[in-house]
Symmetry: C2
DNA sequence: TTGTAAGCGTTATCAA
DNA sequence: TTGATAACGCTTACAA
């Protein structure tokens, strides 16, 4: 066989490299397992064992093989390995976007936990588009992922169907919902926003505005809005339609929202519940500009507890969530599933309200 | 063959599934290409063509194959495909950490650009540890990545040797250095900090402090410090050793640094150059606490131009870098290399100084 | 345009 | 403990 690592051979070999009807052998310059076997004077099976079941090989042989591999600069090819075994050592995660720190750190947590078990992570971003998420999941299945994590439940049924059809263990992250058909690893968005709402109602607020991310195709945000609504309802309250604003999770949206709310005719809200700290920071900033006293005239809440939120004047009341931990827990949950361990249905990760200066008694 | 998708067969088949000396056929319940071929009544080659060179197949046959694939719920297995062709359709990127937005958005840019060409991205985080970076690169090579991006040049020689040995096109991102042996796609850290320093010198500052990330194993930060130093030197100036502070890129480090600097005996700096906006935001915040007037008493600069930096009082002078674009450019550069297009040595991405309120004339 | 069959680099079964 | 070899699921050179 005309391998680069073979001993020098007559030119005629080139012709012999062609099999009767098959194609010519490719010459990549890369050594393969059989080269190592030849150099070490053992069979391919033995070389394989050295790397997969080392203690089934005598120390002497093992050393010879490792030496040979080193000289030839060889390491196992993952595609070949995946094909021959049933394991790909690949897991996948689909997140909406890396531009949001909460998802980035979730990926970070999964990555670390999987790496400790020699599993590499395929990353896909759906850009909040269910269709893209489905495409990405299909691509990952084709790549033979052994496990998958997807953010949220708001995905096409085909997505979960495919995962089940191919028996790939998966977890829904970031969101935890009682009664979900999936293994959820995250927090209860509904409860978290109910808690925020109660916190404000406790201060005597009765007129609320909400500045939040787009609800479309986003079960987490929908749950949050539902949490706010049902809590208010229990107190005989509701958010006026014109006080319900959806937009990007940016400082700019927060600023624009407050300005718009303040220009509206009629009664002004005394509390604004924001979809995250970026939006809330924008509201705080615009309030300063408009001369609105916080919390005297207006209470503001965020979500995520960015480092910045402890530093603003006034400091921001928000909810702390450990997304890195969510990633780690999800990875461990999936690893357990791969190990055939009895599976828990999921984990509810706790959130912690950080009551700070931006919320206070209602003046009105 | 005992495939789940095969027509019902006599029980005897189970025995026949064993080849004379080989192992039994695996029964995964998953259809494979040959199942599709059988169902469509064509050869395996034809099925393959339908997906790889569709116009070499008659419309009639193509339709039959696609129908069969649909019924069997089949799609090509990436490992098999990678093994048979020479393409894996995988690229890799190694970044220090996802916790820093600049790297997260770089990954985001690469991901998008690669996805448009049907290439999936393997993600690795080195946690600023050269040894981990090397391990990750090796893992990616084993997985058959077709191209790689690594952040920065400060990596073990073996890392780049391995990449070259296996002829995997790679790019060094985030940093651009004239005369680098690698294809660099990023900005010139040295020049960027030289520009910041000149900006401050132009305001008459002569006593500087630097609050920056750890320089160890980090060529980008080293280049920044060198940029500051050489610029000062040209003006006969230097940073006193006690005014040179290294630490995490956090608000907390910024705050602690300013407090420490202000407690130091001797002449105080009139300008502080920070390694990024987080640190600078901390300095700004602590200055407010300590009653230090900015920029009257002290000028402060950041780096990265976070959205927040436009919103603080005073607003922060900083440098804008488009890291998402760096990711996109890197991906395109690597795609060009894969396409065999004439390779540019790299790209120098521009940075733009955002002169804002936190810098001004030196009062001293 | 379509079919045949070797070959991609491993693992795993069975026999020695 | 080690070796021989089929099989993993696909692509591709060549023949038809």
């Amino acid at each position: 066989m005309p391998r680069s690592s073979d001993p020098p051979a007559p030119a005629a070999v080139t012709a012999a490299a062609r099999s009767p009807t098959g194609r010519a052998r490719r010459n990549t310059g890369r050594s393969v397992l059989s080269d190592v076997a030849k150099l070490a004077g053992v069979s391919t099976a033995t070389v394989s064992r050295v790397y997969n079941e080392p203690d089934k090989v005598s120390a002497n042989v093992r050393e010879r093989v490792e030496q040979a591999a080193l000289t030839l600069n060889w390491f196992p090819n993952a595609a070949g390995r995946a094909l021959a075994s049933t394991r790909s050592h690949i897991a996948g995660i689909i997140i909406p976007t890396l531009d949001d720190q909460v998802f980035a750190s979730q990926v970070s947590g999964m990555q670390a936990a999987f790496a400790a078990r020699d599993i590499t992570l395929f990353l896909g971003c759906s850009n909040y588009d269910p269709a893209q998420a489905l495409v990405q999941v299909r691509a990952m299945l084709a790549r033979g992922v052994e496990a998958m994590a997807v953010v949220g439940e708001a995905h096409p049924a085909e997505l979960f169907d495919a995962l089940r059809l191919y028996r790939v263990p998966y977890a829904v992250t970031y969101a935890y919902r009682e009664g979900s058909p999936h293994d959820c690893i995250g927090f209860d968005n509904h409860a978290a926003y109910a808690e925020i709402t109660e916190h404000l109602i406790g201060f005597g607020h009765r007129s609320f505005a909400v500045c939040i991310q787009p609800t479309r195709d986003n079960d987490r945000v929908q749950a949050r809005v539902a949490g706010i609504r049902s809590t208010l309802e229990r107190h005989g309250l509701a958010v006026r339609p014109e006080h319900m604003l959806e937009g990007a999770s940016t400082i700019a949206f927060g600023r624009a929202s407050l300005r718009a709310l303040w220009q509206l005719p009629g009664e002004r809200p005394t509390a604004i519940i924001c979809g995250n700290d970026h939006i809330a920071l924008g509201v705080l900033r615009e309030a300063e500009e408009l001369g609105i006293a916080i919390p005297a005239q207006l209470s503001v809440t965020g979500f995520d507890d960015l480092a910045m939120s402890r530093e603003t004047r006034p400091t921001l009341t928000t909810m702390r969530v450990d997304t890195y931990e969510i990633g780690q827990l999800a990875a461990r949950h999936l690893l357990d599933a791969l190990d055939g361990k009895p599976a828990r249905k999921g984990y509810r990760v706790p959130v912690a309200l950080q009551a700070r200066e931006s919320t206070g008694p209602c003046a009105a």
